[in-house]
Symmetry: C2
Subunit: 149 residues, 2 copies
DNA sequence: TAAAATTAATTGTACAAACATATATATTAT
DNA sequence: ATAATATATATGTTTGTACAATTAATTTTA
């Protein structure tokens, strides 16, 4: 759907400013769908992302710093996201033996099972949204990387 | 900067899922810079956007519904964003004479002046971020429109 | 080795996002 | 004209974002 219809605006100061709005609108469109899909599982998009980071390191534990570096939104608060996941039983936290400033965070069996349950739902959601072929997706990635300089 | 470095992840399940992450990372990158720029003016990116919508309608008043339809993030709360702007003296609210359910929202002189003050700062921020030429921006817009189906 | 600087995480605060639900007014159907 | 439905906005709640400031542990350097 064209941006013009999406936000009922016909004129943009230039194609670049239009792209700025388009990125924001598309992100919002995307997050709405991802969060809808995750809702039955009781976790948010950010919490899902943190679980995937932890699975990527598993069975090695991760520090909050490692998680922050890999998070989509650098400004959100890893401490509090992890605490929510801990309350759900999806991760454990313990003091790092070698460095008492650090916290070793580990995904639990329950956390890994949750990711397995979510997997087919993510695949289905992705398939439903997949309006770009591989070449177009590659091109979009190139342009977004270039957008950030 | 490549997404791989941005979130320290080397593998992605496919180019489409990579694009999903890339859109979210780019939006976050963008919003951080826009909000930084707006900070000295004491308004957020969404409040700025609402002011621009109101200016687009000026001197006609806008309803909350009209604002919601034009907002970048449909899920955020127009009532509360407008209330913040009213507290700052940038907009007025009054009951719509023809339909008492509606609220007529109008940008004030102070609101229009704020937009004028912000304008050169936005231009400067855009120039600093402008890593795409016009053809690339057009192509990015086409791909994002197609992404949303 | 004590002081200074750095690192890692936590806590506090204000605001925004993402809903669900409620309230008031207007429109329509009976 | 009354009841049912739809429309427009407001309110409540939980979580996330965007910082700044604090605390505690470690490393550096004087």
């Amino acid at each position: 759907m064209k941006l013009e219809e999406e936000i009922k605006q016909q004129q943009f100061r230039d194609p670049f400013y239009k792209a700025v709005l388009n990125i924001r609108v598309t992100e919002s469109w995307l997050s709405t769908r991802m969060n809808q899909m995750l809702k039955p599982f009781g976790i948010s998009q950010e919490q899902y992302n943190v679980l995937r980071i932890l699975k990527g390191q598993f069975p090695k534990p991760s520090s909050l710093l490692l998680i922050t570096e890999r998070m989509v939104n650098r400004m959100s608060n890893a401490t509090r996201l992890v605490e929510k996941l801990r309350q759900g039983g999806y991760v454990t936290r313990k003091e790092c033996p070698g460095n008492r400033r650090k916290v070793d965070i580990l995904i639990t069996e329950k956390g890994l099972e949750l990711l397995e349950q979510i997997k087919p739902e993510v695949e289905a959601t992705m398939d439903k949204m997949k309006n770009l072929n591989q070449e177009e997706a590659d091109l979009l990635n190139t342009l977004l990387d270039k957008f950030r300089g």
